[in-house]
């Protein structure tokens, strides 16, 4: 059992409980604006719900999962006592307080600005302060991960850092730096206006600050999933990691190139010129590299497991895989969704094609498929894998677990494929209502109904997930032993300094951010007359 099980369980339970609430809101939103829902007479309720859904799913849920998983990795991969447990609890409680502080104004309709903030729309100041507290709480985790690794290094000079911890710390640094963009937007621009100290704001500059956070945050969400691909899946299905070195290179690439690419979210914006848009587009293409490398390494690792189990032939080995193992199932589903979602992502980041789908339901479909699908399904698998080590009890509902994963996969496909389609037809995002009686919109009705069905399948799967975990708290006791990570085919004995430390890569990440963001930000910040009057939400 893990020594810090209470700490980790607190993170996971709070994350999953909020996830359950936000998932329910999401399903309701899909229903209410579809042809089978009746017109919601107050669209404002829709936007409260949408703000809550985004804030929880974007800021709170993945952050808590990464933190809880990070503490588990630190303790079990380094095989040392977690340093700073009291600080870890402080971070956790900051996030709890921040979440509650943010949710109250949302529920009261005083902060319906969506999780992307959208100044010059300005909501209640406590919403933004709540989000800041969540981020500050997570920064404590970043510091703790760094400190724990340092303590371990001192005790093991020159030894290769275990891959799981190397990746975990890379993810934490990525998060620390990517959150700075939104932090600057909140602290320098939005909060002074929300607090009544100023009444104008530069909306264009705010969008650039937010884009700094908006893309790399996705890679922060993705980190736990990639860590699981490399260090849990091969162990769980009886294989080996094909290459420890390639894994390290992939995580380093994420750290370096996930950051300076956020402006591909602003291709359609008037406040940046075409040059920087192209640079960001090219760098975004680069971020596909670590994913391509990962897909190769993981498929090779899985093949090793299959051949060890007696699989033969060019593709025949696929049948020899342990398909009844939830981790195997989750990985396969995750890869399918990553494939479709990644292909869609290449379209979004394309300098030319983006205009066809920008801000349509295609985008909603894209990030639900990647984040809600490929990433979150592995969060489920991580929880299932860790649960016996956290509760000291066995998870016995294997069939139920498989059903839950199947439902999530089917639900996500049924939800997002029609979304992509109506997006191509030009259906805009973030609408509380569509007039399906309009002959130009009527043809989209069937697709929208399909995706509502998908939404309810997802809700069913989400409830099952919570039920399985809750039942796992009361299952018969069983000792799960020490929590272990996958070994590589060739376990590293000596790792080059560059692949064993983060300093060089963090420096490169910061330098690239400055070269790709410095000039546009400076230019916007110094150009006069671009500040516009704030529009207060809920004030009319």
């Amino acid at each position: 059992m893990l020594a810090n099980r209470k700490l980790i369980l607190a993170h996971f339970w709070f994350a999953f409980a909020l996830f359950g609430v936000a998932l329910t809101l999401g399903a309701w939103q899909m229903f209410i604006r579809s042809p089978i829902g009746t017109w919601l007479s107050n669209p404002e309720l829709y936007y409260r719900s949408l703000t809550a859904h985004g804030t929880v799913m974007g800021y709170v849920f993945p952050t808590l999962v990464a933190m809880g998983f990070g503490y588990a990795i630190s303790e079990s991969a380094l095989e040392q006592r977690l340093v700073g447990v009291r600080w870890a609890w402080t971070g956790f409680w900051l996030i709890v307080v921040g979440s509650v502080m943010a949710v109250i104004p949302i529920a009261l309709g005083r902060a319906s600005v969506l999780y992307t903030f959208y100044p010059p729309l300005i909501g209640n100041v406590f919403y933004y302060l709540g989000v800041v507290l969540v981020v500050v709480g997570s920064w404590i985790w970043v510091a703790l991960m760094s400190i724990n690794l340092r303590v371990w290094r001192r005790a093991h000079p020159g030894a290769p850092v275990p891959l799981a911890m190397f990746a975990n710390v890379a993810g934490s640094y990525l998060w620390a730096w990517t959150a700075v963009g939104a932090a600057l937007e909140l602290l320098l621009q939005i909060i002074p206006v929300a607090a009544g100290l100023k009444n104008t704001i530069d909306a264009g500059l705010a969008r650039i600050f937010f884009s700094w956070t908006l893309h790399a945050i996705v890679y922060f969400w993705l980190m736990p999933t990639y860590i699981a691909y490399y260090t849990i899946v091969p162990r769980a299905i009886g294989g080996r990691v094909y290459s420890d070195t390639m894994a390290r290179i992939s995580f380093i690439l994420f750290l370096v190139v996930a950051m300076p690419i956020g402006m591909h979210h602003t291709f359609a914006d008037p406040q940046v010129g075409a040059g920087f848009k192209f640079i960001h587009s090219a760098f975004t293409a680069l971020v596909a590299l670590p994913t391509l490398l990962t897909v190769f390494t993981i498929c090779a690792s899985v093949e090793i497991a299959a051949r060890l189990r007696g699989g033969r032939g060019l593709f025949g080995w696929i049948r020899a895989l342990p398909w009844d193992n939830p981790m195997m199932l989750a990985l396969a589903f995750s890869f399918v969704m990553l494939g479709f979602g990644g292909a869609g992502g290449l379209i979004n980041m394309s300098y030319q094609l983006d205009a066809s789908i920008h801000n349509t339901q295609w985008i909603t479909g894209h990030f639900h498929l990647i984040f809600g699908g490929a990433i979150v399904i592995i969060y489920f698998a991580i929880a299932y894998d860790l649960w016996p080590h956290l509760t000291g009890r066995e998870l016995i509902d294997m069939r139920l677990i498989r059903t839950q994963l199947w439902l999530w996969f089917i639900g996500m496909i049924v939800t997002t494929f029609p979304w992509h389609w109506v997006g191509i037809l030009g259906m805009p995002r973030r609408m509380a209502y569509f007039d399906f009686g309009d002959p130009a919109i009527a043809p989209q009705a069937l697709s929208v109904i399909l995706s509502v069905i998908g939404g309810f399948i997802l809700l069913t799967s989400g409830i099952l997930f919570l039920v399985i975990l809750a039942r796992g708290m009361r299952a018969p006791q069983a000792d799960a032993g020490a929590y272990r990570f996958a070994l590589a085919v060739h376990q590293p004995t000596i790792v080059p300094v560059a692949l064993n430390t983060h300093a060089l890569w963090v420096a490169l990440m910061i330098v690239l951010t400055i070269t790709n963001y410095g000039y546009p930000i400076l230019n916007l910040a110094t150009s006069a007359g671009t500040s516009v009057p704030a529009v207060y939400v809920g004030a009319q």
Binding site: Y118, S350, R429, V532
Partner: protein, 188 residues
Amino acid sequence: MSAQETHAGSAEVAARVERRWATIAVIIIAGMALLAAFAGIHQATMPQPRVETTDPSRIHLSGEFVESNLGSVLEPNGNVTVRAIGQQYSFTPACIVVPVDTPITLRATSADVVHGILIQGTNVNTMLVPGYISEQLMRFTKTGDYLMPCQEFCSFGHEGMWGKVKVIDRTDFATRAKAGGRLSCVGQ
């Protein structure tokens, strides 16, 4: 051969296969970036290149976006310029009229919060950020009515912010343009 040597041999094979795959991946990525650069430079398909600013609190008083200047105008060279603004929760003009098969420049901005313009069935798609002017080049190849929803959340009335584009025959447009002024669907 000892077990140790076999192991080292397999590590070498693994490294070689990996290198090959990494090379392919890099080529794919470089190819994509080059394609985008080629299309951008050669066919001039790219996002809005220039940055222009305007003060939203004064756009109704003077300058390009005063009310009497909004709508479509036939330029001396035969091209058409459309000027529009978005505000909570409508576009002005609410219905834009343009001729078919004609190069059109859309110039638009926002009077309050962030909005967006998307013309369904086309790839015309731009943000309207208060303080900045958005410019899009477009050309319609078919006459008819197109829906033009606001594609960015602009507060509680966002779902009701739908405009329209009416694409009409070139000669019809030229006839209407003779009377001067700025054209919209009004009076059609």
